[in-house]
Assembly symmetry: C2
Homo-oligomer: 604 residues x 2
Amino acid sequence: MKITIAAAIGLLALSVTEAVKVNPLPAPVTIQWAKTGAVKVDNNFKIVGPNHDILNKAYARTASLIKSERWTPVTWERPAAEFPPFPVLGKRGDEEESDAAPAENANNGKHSLKTIQVHVSDLKADLQHGVDETYTLDITAAGQGTIKAKTVWGALHGLQTLNQIVISDGKSGLQIEQPVHIADGPKYAHRGVLYDTSRNFYNLKSLYRQIDALAYSKMNVFHWHITDNQSWPVEIKKYPQMTKDAYSPREVYTQKDIAAVIKYGRERGVRVMPELDMPGHSSSGWLQVDKKAVTCADSWWDNDGWTHHSAVQPNPGQLDIAYEGTYKLIKDVYRELTGVFTDNFFHVGFDELHTYCYNYSSYSQDWFKKHPGATYPDFAQYYIDKALPIFQDKPSRRLVMWEDVVLSPDFPAKSVPKDVIMQSWNLGVDNIKKLAHKGYDIIVSSADFLYLDCGHGGWVTNDPRYNVNSPPPLPKAIQDAFDANPSSYYPASNNYLGSGASWCDPYKTWQRIYAFDFTEGLTAEEAKHVIGAEVAMWSEQADSTNIDTKVWPRTRATELSARIQDFRERLVDRGILAAPLVPKYCLQHPHHCDLFRNQTAWGK
Amino acid sequence: MKITIAAAIGLLALSVTEAVKVNPLPAPVTIQWAKTGAVKVDNNFKIVGPNHDILNKAYARTASLIKSERWTPVTWERPAAEFPPFPVLGKRGDEEESDAAPAENANNGKHSLKTIQVHVSDLKADLQHGVDETYTLDITAAGQGTIKAKTVWGALHGLQTLNQIVISDGKSGLQIEQPVHIADGPKYAHRGVLYDTSRNFYNLKSLYRQIDALAYSKMNVFHWHITDNQSWPVEIKKYPQMTKDAYSPREVYTQKDIAAVIKYGRERGVRVMPELDMPGHSSSGWLQVDKKAVTCADSWWDNDGWTHHSAVQPNPGQLDIAYEGTYKLIKDVYRELTGVFTDNFFHVGFDELHTYCYNYSSYSQDWFKKHPGATYPDFAQYYIDKALPIFQDKPSRRLVMWEDVVLSPDFPAKSVPKDVIMQSWNLGVDNIKKLAHKGYDIIVSSADFLYLDCGHGGWVTNDPRYNVNSPPPLPKAIQDAFDANPSSYYPASNNYLGSGASWCDPYKTWQRIYAFDFTEGLTAEEAKHVIGAEVAMWSEQADSTNIDTKVWPRTRATELSARIQDFRERLVDRGILAAPLVPKYCLQHPHHCDLFRNQTAWGK
């Protein structure tokens, strides 16, 4: 996701030289435009290839979208306009390049492209982690179009790129601006978004829209954080009472719904990775089956007194890992869900386990009495030793857990198998390095860069910390310390340039997401352990109404602004309410909204 | 907008005593529920009253919405559940109150309400600032319903309240939970939202949705910041070339469109107050007519060198106030717009005027040569003396300007008539106090509380300040200063608990908006100068896709969470994509998401 400013300028120069407007997102590994003129695309062009259920649908969907969309780029890379030297006297400089539609120079239709031929060498490779997703896409001056891929899933990406490069010819037709050779494949095998459907519910329609947007941007994992403390929205046939803790009977995903979401994702190359968060973040649902399996649910969550601190947010509740019945319940629920979710990856949680919560459990108190000298890490290990054999249900299974299970300062387990994938969310590159050094594969979701909920303030209610009518007085000693130490730090208070009660403030902008160099400081060997990244859409303040605007387009942050800005316009055109990143002026006047005119000026 | 925690608790006690679920928003001045049982509302009930075009539509609209909505409160005020003392041993406490629909106890239909009678004593009072908006609403046990208002505009509010209190009877019918007497009227005459349609364009459909939401929440001003530097989206018949600087031909409000928006607002009691921002924030549009009327448009905006600093954001441009032709142009445009906008208030801008921009103007340089010893305040006064007579076009006209015209540190005018209303956006209560002390009427829009765009990061592109992979090292002297001075300040950096390149970070949550006590420190005489408040939806990162979620429901922040949370659910039900403020768990478990269980604990 990282590119230096110097490299950005390099790319800018490149694209200006090449003088095409389309700018596929994400940037293909290799893209070589010819200069022989536009290739006309026949209005009745067809995509043909292997007869395969998923591909057949994709051929039709892609051709139909290209024809209905007939895209005209809204913005593309160009240099900023020149300005006369300062000071000047009331005269406007040269007019900028016109924003007119792409010029028509399409070989007079001599060689119009009538067919895109898709070749796939292995039609059987399953959509699982690590499957080959590479493809090549060639459009020749003679009007031939070819997508070649090893697998169905690579071919789907090729079709997405095709969709992005076929644009309006400025009249009623279609064109590709120049013959082109593209060879592409992902840098990381795991590229996802975490959706949290427990804090607030997302209707099915909004989930399908998200999968569309993931596919458009060649992301391939829908991480479904399906349950948490606040509600239990998933049908479990063995324990139908669990959905008493759904927000309402309408706010439930039936197993049929889940299968439909998985199918929808699969048809678009998007895996659905389930997460059942345990043993923390667990109360709703579970306690409808067996109240003894959950402890501290019936406590106040926090803040009135630290001896009662049982959760980082309302509502409290953790699985009682000292109670034997808990494991039967986990086993039943896990087994049923593994029958629904088809992915080899299964995320089994383990974030933010709180020690104090177990003060509320007689089973846990008894466990510590029976194990004199035992620590909380021993207690965590007791859970791991009992639970992991349940989760590790088949050779192809790979488990994912939050990094807390090995990096929690007070409640880690002592020994976790190295084949468990760790999802990292704390302390940025420091924790990634620690996990890689220990030998774990890693999914990067560092909160400082990739948490999409950050920066919207605190959501807990009746919070008196907001009742501050003016900035508090700044003690002179603190002002003096800052004056004496010009640094990148400055004094902030909660409501004034400070966190505003959002623990991971500020908001993560597309530039921040993009700037994250998450393998910094890793050895080459360690870097191999990073299997990919996910942004996380924690949903205390998100549901079907605002999911689009919170996730898109910043999730697909990329180098240079024109690429992401034009992509945003397309998403909106396709019915996804992606938020605007800038005034539209900036799309129409490339680089005029850059912070610096001289982009090498900063930090020198 | 302010209520103390103690008062909040008082209200809570009150509503529990009264045992009704509906909680009209905003809270009526007086609301007295009886205890004699629900009043059944006939499924075919009618609203009747004076035969008046606007009221006739409102009778039909209100009755239709009540019948189709048949609202069941999603949340209502209740005390938090009790918890057993700590530590406890694995047992759940008392079950909470059921979330079932309101009980039916509707007098067996003996006295069902068949007619709401509306009385209006003055049908002619125009919708202008200060018009009487009071009303009473009475529902008796005998099934009589009456709304009394002095004006049409008060009656409209009464109908909104009626809409909020008629709910489902839990079966297929309607009810009002108890007979009730309501006497209500606004505390402030001016209650608005600023919409900026220049940075990004809002389609008409989204503007209508906003007016709906304003009316639902009894707000009465749609402040239309129609133009700015980035685009000119408004048709001017005398100068049709101005909309060459619209983002596209589709992104233009014709005068017919504007008249339709005004009519739509008027039918719902919402005034449309136009703003033509001048002489700062002016380039697009104007320079299509006369390039000499705009200076510094052809410069780089900022940051590469402060001698070139010509604007706070891209793109630069200010009206050249030393050029005589500017005034003719202003006059023509202003005259045409006053023929379209019917409100007596007209906002004529004057925020963020930059001195350096005039370095680019030969006219301005000449002006300073002709006026030796003149200062920028003299130059600003030159503009005021020439422009205000143009704007002050009729006795009923009241002009509104940004406070900068009197409070700018470097570019204020020297003398501005006291009948100009000042809109305050800087420094919270300090500037309000200053303006009131000077004798100006004030519209409060303090950025630290009421700017809805804040906290979403910096939007200017290619900003290298985001390229920080780990928190910068904290100098020991600074850490020591903080350790020695425990205060409400703490060290923050741009990307770590700091502003994230958002100048007015953090994000303004509903609790922050509500907590603002904007008359603090004013004398009774000064407080009379506060005529109301507006939240401001600056739109660098907002357009039709996300306007709903950015504005609603926090704009109508109010005391106690159940009131605003249920209102949010209604907005969503009515098609306005108001954002969720909390996990739905918090709606179903009142007060369980409060920061403190003991709400008097903080700050002691």
